[in-house]
């Protein structure tokens, strides 16, 4: 047993890559990999919703169509909100890595505000559509629209709640490695949501107004 431990200790760290050679991979890499698998499974779920929307987008049942409902000006602002919040989230992860607690808190607050602005615009868009009688039960197109865009919005909402929870943990516990790994997972999640939004923006809004 002592020999085994000594052997692991003697192997240079840069050889441990999570594929068996050079000993066990660092926990950070293992955790990020596991979370990456979760994100990919989430992407597979979104792909089913995208496929449903692509199939149903023409079936408006005589109701309002995409070009009548979508306001590209709002969508552009939403896109920029999400994009900049991804950027501040990345810089936040960087400031944690470099041990700048104050900078991290400011960037986390910016991430939260930009994400909340995105959600606010999205919810007011939904509310406007429902008040015009274009709710999810109006046509197959609108059911697919609300399911796809609403699921993305639900993910953003969960992300914001998670961010509050993580910042509270960070304030209470500081730069502890478990907290750092959770922040790493959160930034993966947040960037992945931005990637899903690129698909929503392109398929639903930009192709929808043509």
């Amino acid at each position: 047993m002592t020999t085994a431990t000594a052997t692991i200790g003697a192997v240079p760290t840069e050889l441990a890559r999570g594929r068996g050679g050079g000993g066990p991979a660092p926990m950070r890499i293992v955790v990020a990999y596991g979370f990456w698998i979760f994100i990919l499974s989430d992407m597979v779920m979104f792909s089913a919703l995208f496929a449903a929307y692509a199939v149903l987008s023409g079936h408006t049942a005589g109701g309002p169509t995409g070009p009548e409902l979508f306001n590209l000006h709002n969508v552009f602002i939403e896109t920029l909100c999400l994009l900049f919040s991804s950027y501040t989230c990345g810089l936040g992860a960087l400031s944690v890595e470099r041990r700048h607690p104050k900078r991290f808190l400011i960037l986390a607050a910016l991430t939260f505000v930009l994400g909340a602005a995105f959600l606010f615009i999205e919810f007011s868009e939904f509310a406007g559509m429902i008040s015009q009688g274009a709710g999810p039960s109006r046509s197959a197109f609108l059911s697919a629209f609300f399911t796809l865009v609403g699921t993305h919005g639900a993910h953003v909402t969960i992300g914001l709640i998670w961010l509050i929870y993580l910042v509270a943990q960070f304030v209470a516990k500081g730069f502890r490695s478990a907290v750092l790994r959770r922040l790493l997972c959160f930034s993966l999640f947040w960037h992945a949501l931005d990637i899903v939004w690129i698909g929503v923006m392109t398929l639903v809004y930009l192709m929808g107004v043509r």
């Binding site: 594929r19 293992v30 990020a32 990456w36 192709m207």
Partner: protein, 122 residues
């Protein structure tokens, strides 16, 4: 060894040293710049006739893929380094499944639509 150090020590698998990723402010800013550029390009392409109109959906898909690529490289820091081999393999598998689900659904449903009997209007 104080309490916090011990926590750190026990929390780590063997072979863990200080973590230094390849990320820096410059790479995030480059990613942001590319993403903003491709976003603006997408909105311009969709709202003008700058591209040949029947080619606009293809142009939008290309711009979306370019932006996703920029996100993967500059925000998620996927690279060709040995640290990323497992992540890239998983991503390739994920892309395969996403492609099968979307392309397969569209293919099947378009076929079904084409083979439907005309619906008589009552």
């Amino acid at each position: 060894m104080d309490r916090d150090d011990r926590l750190h020590y026990e929390d780590r698998t063997p072979g863990v040293e200080e973590y230094e990723s390849g990320a820096n402010v410059l790479s995030y800013t480059a990613g942001l710049g590319l993403a903003v550029l491709t976003t603006i390009a997408s909105f311009v392409v969709a709202q003008t006739d700058m591209l040949w109109p029947p080619g606009i959906p293809v142009g939008l898909i290309v711009l979306a893929l370019a932006q996703i690529g920029a996100h993967l490289v500059f925000f998620l820091h996927l690279g060709s380094g040995p640290d990323h081999t497992n992540n890239i393999l998983a991503l390739a598998f994920g892309i395969l499944i996403v492609f099968l689900v979307i392309a397969g659904s569209c293919w099947i449903i378009v076929n079904l639509n084409a083979n439907m009997m005309p619906i008589s209007v009552r």
